[in-house]
Amino acid sequence: MNTTPARPETLDARTREQIDLALSQYQSQPGPLLQVLHAVQNRIGYIPDAAIPIIASALNLSRADVHGVVTFYHYFRRQPPGRHIVRVCQAESCKAMRADELTEHAKAKLRIDFHQTTADGAFTLEPVYCLGNCACSPAVMIDEELYGRVTPERFDELIEEKSAK
């Protein structure tokens, strides 16, 4: 196995404080790692590599354990995302309603591929496998807001609305 040592990235005091708060919130619970990672990502927006040894030490786990969990789950991010996260559903029901075309449109509109962020830092584009909005396919989620029956025109409107904010 190729194990990369945690990069000597330093965390600023505020970020460090956010990590400590996340830890203190869940540390005493049984099997708390996922909850801690969610809390860190909610507070900072992603899970910095430099947070891994801190979390591992606080939960009495190895760094490999924590790294393994962070990389197993699609939802956890290791880089800061754009201001808005745009998720376009790729699953069967949305495909039946032309999600593949919507996906191509989204990539062209934002001029990025999946897992990338626009140059102005406004949008990160992610694939998602089902948002549970299958009767209103195709579905898109922007941050925590869900959209259904999304046409390319509607997609553009949503992006304009978010850009304006």
Binding site: P30, G31, P32, L33, L34, Q35, L37, H38, D65, G68, V69, F72, Y73, H74, Y75, F76, A91, E92, S93, C94, K95, A96, M97, V128, Y129, C130, L131, G132, N133, C134, A135, C136, S137, A139, M141, E144, E145, L146, Y147, G148, R149
Partner: protein, 513 residues
């Protein structure tokens, strides 16, 4: 008399503009000096009519939909607060045929009540099941669930009562109830709709399960893609604690049940029960080798009931009305009702709860109204991404566990996704393998490696590279995955692939572009 207006806050309704409609109605009422009471209910599940606005009148609730914010002034003008006629008017909600022709046991309150109001829940028979359960011995509760014929609604269809009996029989310092709310199958949204529309029912079902098997602690493992359900569940759980329906000494019985929600993190495999348990423990969601069964050695090594949302939410009704009542619905070994979720390329997509036995054709055409595009429905996928593709020649199959199994398909969690004749089934078969490759936990080789090889083989078949040889090879690969995988992900990914090859061979024979 202040009129009550209902605007759903279900995520699907919000996704098509319900929030704007609610705000427009409140603003228009204020502008006209007409006080109204605005209630945010769940969805009725008639999703093609969302946003569906309802108005309470002396003769019942009137339905208007799909409403946009722009329609609001004209609704007021027409007198919708009195249930007056309007182009968007559908008459009394309960008389809409697509709702009237359902048999709602589990979804009886969804779309009717304010989901986070315990008062509403109690006024609509809520907690009647728990009150019965508190008067019963654990063995009696388990027997009631067993006799009802309830089988796991997550997809595996294992008798719920047998699972509970196994956990009850274990002596252990701590037992758990783990609710699988990782509803990842495309085409399914019943769990979400229930958690957002009637969260107390799930809480009640889990509490009864705890009493039945002697578990004092429960977890709801909820997928991270469901932020709306998360908020609703947290609010309902807090209320249940405050009002003595959770925690120590439930309703003065001396019994304890603690409940919390834990979020997944976007891994489809965590819907598999042992993988879910690993994830609940804060680990990588890798599948465990069985035996031991979770009922014997489950969460944190303790006996654990793992049930799907709908299975647990079916329990209060069974306790309230008895096993015979529930058993009286359905056919053969498929007893009770099933919330069928109709999605994809369909005119009237939504949730239809019926006793088992409805045929696919009745669901697709009588309820669904055919495809959304107006073109013929060529294929449907039943049971999520691991379910078989069914051709039109088999649409008369009844939707029950045995009948679908007889044609090599499965009901799974009850999701039905329709495709019109523009679908390319070779592409869908490739997608099944691609999905498996993306979501495999990596523990067993047939799934981890097989899925990637499957994508490559299908690419070659589509490109007409040594097609006959590769068609044979992909069949062999499917056999290996079916028989050699540790869990259903690798073991069932071949179902959509093989069914596509069997029923739609022409799609694999096209000349390469």
């Amino acid at each position: 008399m202040i009129t009550t207006v209902y605007v759903p806050q279900d995520a699907a309704a919000l996704s098509v503009g319900a929030e704007r409609v609610a705000r427009a109605i409140a603003a228009e009422a204020e502008r006209r000096g007409t006080p109204i009471r605005l209630v945010r209910n769940g969805t009725r599940g008639l999703l093609w009519l969302e946003p569906l606005v309802e108005v309470a009148t002396p003769n019942g609730r009137h339905a208007y939909g799909p409403v946009t914010a722009r329609d609001v002034p004209s609704l007021f003008e027409a007198g919708f607060l009195q249930g007056a006629s309007h182009p968007l008017h559908h008459g009394l909600t309960e008389e809409i045929p697509f709702l009237k022709n359902q048999q709602r046991l589990t979804f009886a309150r969804v779309g009717v009540i304010d989901p986070t109001s315990l008062t509403d829940y109690l006024a609509h028979d809520g907690y009647a099941g728990l009150r019965r359960a508190l008067e019963m011995q654990p063995t009696e509760i388990v027997k009631t669930v067993l006799d009802s014929g309830l089988r796991g609604r997550g997809g595996a269809a294992f008798p719920t009562g047998i699972k509970w009996q196994t956990v009850l029989d274990q002596a252990a310092p701590q037992k758990y109830i783990a609710c699988n709310a990782d509803e990842g199958d495309s085409g399914t949204f019943a769990d979400r709709m229930l958690m957002e529309g009637d969260p107390f029912m799930l809480i009640e079902g889990m509490t009864i399960a705890g009493l039945a098997v002697g578990a004092t602690r429960g977890f709801i493992y909820l997928r991270a893609e469901y932020p709306h359900a998360h908020k609703t569940l947290e609010a309902a759980i807090a209320t249940a604690y405050r009002e003595g329906y959770l925690g120590r000494d439930i309703l003065g019985s001396g019994k304890t049940f603690d409940l919390e929600v834990r979020l997944g993190a976007g891994a489809y495999i965590c819907g598999e029960e042992t993988s879910m348990l690993e994830s609940l423990e804060g680990k990588r969601g890798e599948v465990r080798v069985r035996p031991p069964l979770p009922a014997i050695k489950g969460l944190f090594g303790q006996p654990t009931v793992v049930n799907n949302v709908i299975s647990l939410a079916s329990v209060p009704v069974i306790l309230q009305h008895g096993a015979e009542f529930y058993q009286s619905f359905g056919v053969g070994k498929s007893r009770g009702t099933i919330p069928l979720q109709l999605a994809g390329n369909i005119k009237r997509g939504g949730l239809y709860e019926r006793a088992f036995g409805l045929t696919l054709r009745e669901l697709l055409y009588d309820f669904g109204g055919g495809s959304a595009s107006g073109r013929p429905i060529r294929a449907v996928q039943v049971g999520g991404p691991l379910g078989a593709y069914i051709p039109a020649s088999q649409f008369d199959t009844p939707l029950d566990y045995e009948a679908l199994s007889a044609i090599g398909a499965l009901l799974g969690h009850g999701g039905v996704v329709a495709f019109d004749d523009t679908v390319d089934m070779a592409k869908m078969a490739r997608y099944a393998m691609e999905f498996c490759a993306a979501e495999s936990c990596g523990k067993c080789t047939p799934c981890r490696i097989g899925s990637t090889r499957g994508v490559e083989l299908l690419d070659r078949i589509i490109a007409n590279v040594e097609r006959d040889k590769n068609l044979q090879l992909v069949q062999e690969l499917c056999e290996t995955m079916v028989h050699g995988s540790l869990c259903g992900l690798g073991g069932m990914t071949p179902f959509p692939v093989q069914s596509a090859l069997k029923h739609f061979p022409e799609d694999f024979m096209r000349t390469a572009q």
